[in-house]
């Protein structure tokens, strides 16, 4: 009779956490930060179709780093949960907090009960009536939730970027300033694999940008792309002629 090797629970958890952390660290970063008119999402993402930033509900958006198929699965589940709640209760009863709780439960269960944890880190953001009411929840692969204030950075260089955001982010930044700060910090992160510390200048084509705009009626989520993005960054538009803003 063969005896299985004994592995202590501490070791199992540690191995899983290391595995997930390594997966997340490989990816490019995402920054979510508050500006005077709402919440701004900036990701380094060359794809126009595979989004890291998405709308969940009227006032709620989702940003993620890590493995695409895993966070996409969570995003779709979040849209379903939010739409179900809004349909069976009322649109106003869909909150970022309940969604963050659901994600935390789900990620926690997946982390403890399955062999392979999700290699994702997500932010659930809800824009409120005033900056004081904005909510930012950061969720990690093991289901831990953090209630963040002002800004969140996730992904490969999250630590370094957060450090700089702590120094440079202030309340009441306008949209263009907040966007330039985020883009500069994303560019300051070394690109994985190339090893140089040289800061890069990210162009609009390398960015995925969206806002939860406090002033918009009902659906507050809007993507910023094309000429509008170039204008905010103060550079020439290098992308094909797409509309300034589009839903979804």
């Amino acid at each position: 009779m063969s005896m299985p090797f004994y592995v202590s629970p501490e070791q199992v958890i540690k191995d899983k956490a290391d595995y997930a952390r390594k997966g997340i660290a490989r990816g490019r970063s995402v920054i979510v930060l508050q500006y005077s008119g709402g919440l701004l999402f900036v990701a380094e993402n060359r794809s126009r179709a595979l989004h890291k930033i998405s709308e969940i509900y009227d006032r709620i958006a989702f940003a993620a780093v890590g493995k695409y198929n895993e966070f996409e699965n969570l995003r779709v589940a979040g849209v379903r949960l939010a739409d179900l709640r809004g349909y069976s209760y009322d649109r106003r009863d869909v909150t970022g907090r309940s969604l963050a709780n659901a994600y935390a439960q789900t990620l926690g269960t997946i982390f403890t009960e399955t062999q392979k944890p999700y290699e994702v880190e997500i932010v659930v953001a809800e824009v409120g009536a005033s900056p004081h009411d904005d909510q930012l929840y950061r969720l990690t692969f093991d289901g831990s939730v953090g209630d963040e204030h002002g800004f969140v950075a996730m992904g490969g260089s999250a630590e370094a970027i957060s450090e700089k955001l702590r120094e440079r982010w202030t309340e009441g930044l306008d949209l263009a300033d907040a966007l330039r700060l985020a883009v500069e910090l994303l560019g300051s992160a070394p690109e994985s694999g190339n090893g140089t510390e040289e800061p890069r200048v990210l162009t609009p084509a390398q960015l995925e940008v969206a806002v939860l705009d406090r002033e918009r009626p009902r659906r507050k989520f809007r993507r910023i792309q094309g000429p509008k993005l170039a204008e905010l960054l103060g550079v020439d538009d290098d992308s094909d002629d797409e509309p300034d803003e589009s839903p979804g």
Partner: protein
């Protein structure tokens, strides 16, 4: 293995939420909690209930868009159940839907249809085509056939702006989910035959958006004139028809400030000619 607990919007995401595939909210509901679907509650056989009914909806196209209007009356038998019900709704940012038939079910179906369109848009990152939206509504109505056979029919009309043709399109439905594209104009509900007569005589190829609103008011006036279940404009209470316009700028409900003078002009003209404007006779 993910969790298998079933939650109805509760604290954790059950397997139905995490299942890949469908971008339809109605299909998700059917899988997760069918009792939330309008047709998810079977009635005992052989019974019929007295329910509130909504009545007349008209829609007509103009160059570059479509207008839809509904009166404000809901009836239950010979009783006016509500004087100011709203029966025309935005379906999404570039389409609208009007309802006739059993009001409770119809309003619920519109709510589901609105979520269905937004859900698809969020999951797929793109809007459905106008035909796609019209077909989704047909599927929802088809699910209601059992209820319709017991007297709880829902008869909606759908209209949207089609960026491919640069104009408005109108779709009507029957209780079996049959979908029919209508050209120029259409009307549904108990006063629809009277409204349709007015639409036929007043609609022109080169009608402007403002004229389209006026024609919609005229046709609803004619419907209210001959159908007891359709309400005319109630100027004493300030209850005007609900009129929506959909064009390349999207859905817009005509505000009261804009509608009030048009309705007053129509009502004033009827003081002289109670049967409304005269269509010219040719030949």
């Amino acid at each position: 293995m993910s969790t298998v607990r079933r939650s109805s919007g509760g604290s954790s995401l059950s397997s139905a939420f995490l299942q890949a595939g469908s971008s339809s909210f109605a299909e998700f509901l059917a899988m997760h909690d069918p009792s939330l679907l309008p047709a998810g509650r079977p009635l005992p056989p052989g019974t019929s209930v007295d329910a509130v009914h909504g009545t007349t909806i008209v829609a007509l196209t103009f160059a570059g868009g479509v207008a839809m209007a509904g009166d404000r009356r809901a009836t239950m038998g010979n009783v006016i159940a509500q004087k100011d019900i709203e029966k025309v709704f935005p379906a999404d940012e570039s389409s609208c839907v009007g309802i006739a038939g059993t009001a409770g079910l119809a309003v619920e179906m519109v709510k589901l249809f609105q979520v269905e369109l937004e859900h698809y848009e969020k999951i797929e990152g793109a809007s459905l085509s106008v035909d796609g939206k019209a077909n989704r509504l047909a599927t929802l109505i088809r699910g209601n056939l059992g209820m319709a056979m017991q007297g709880l029919a829902v008869v909606p009309m759908f209209a949207g702006y089609d960026p491919e043709t640069g104009g408005g399109r109108i779709f009507s439905y029957d209780v079996t989910g049959g979908r029919y594209e209508e050209h120029r104009h259409h009307s549904v509900g108990s006063g629809s035959m009277f409204a349709r007569g007015a639409l036929k005589k007043l609609w022109r190829e080169d009608i402007s958006p403002v004229e389209a609103i006026s024609v919609a008011v005229e046709s609803l006036y004619d419907a209210a004139d001959d159908d007891a279940a359709t309400g005319g404009p109630d100027l004493a209470r300030g209850i005007l028809p609900v009129i929506a316009v959909v064009d390349s700028d999207g859905y817009r409900r005509v505000p009261e400030s804009e509608l009030d003078p048009i309705v007053r002009a129509v009502v004033a003209a009827r003081q002289n000619r109670p049967d409304g404007p005269v269509a010219p006779i040719t030949g």
